[in-house]
Symmetry: C2
Subunit: 114 residues, 2 copies
């Protein structure tokens, strides 16, 4: 799991960590702030933050004994770029769904006119 992209995906594969990121999207927050919504110990949150930090998704500053965290979304851009390659595939799927629904509608219209 040496590569950066794998680390990013792995960091995002945990709902607690995603919730932390969503909170940080609103602005800087301390470890205590981030821990509050969860029924988890403080060390557990610190571990999650370390995972996010190693993935480059979070950076920290210093404010007295606090270590405010802030979001660094750059690695998510890499995720977005990677995933974008598959856009045509899911759009194709939706296109087929549209065709199916249109055909279905056409069939129903034809039946109505019988």
């Amino acid at each position: 799991m040496a590569d950066a992209l794998s680390a990013t995906f792995a960091a995002l594969a945990d709902p607690t960590r995603r919730a932390i990121l969503e909170r940080l999207a609103l602005g800087e927050a301390t470890v205590m702030d981030l821990a509050a919504p969860f029924d988890l110990s403080q060390p557990a949150i610190s571990k999650h933050l370390k995972v996010l930090e190693r993935a480059g998704l979070v950076a920290r500053s210093r404010d007295a004994q606090r270590r405010p965290c802030h979001l660094v979304a750059a690695p998510m851009q890499d995720v977005a770029t990677w995933v974008e390659r598959y856009r045509q595939h899911w759009e194709a799927r939706l296109d087929r769904l549209e065709v199916y629904l249109r055909d279905l509608q056409a069939t129903e219209d034809a039946e109505e006119s019988e």
Copy 2:
């Protein structure tokens, strides 16, 4: 890790699995086809495929004793949607970089004219 999005991110957090998906983006392939590029045992590939299948990223059909796999990109759309929320953050960062570079250039220009 019960939720679908976590399962998708976890599935994507492995370079072997991402390579398999990239191969499948080119078209259907058998397990043997998919295993060929890797220095891994066949059961290892089967395990990876099972992870991808449980994440909904891959589906399989039947062709004699073969089980051709094909890509299902729909879960990636969910990933794309989730990640999109952070676009403004990474773009803001790039904007700040642009401002920084522009200011830097302005300073250099000013120094040259001294």
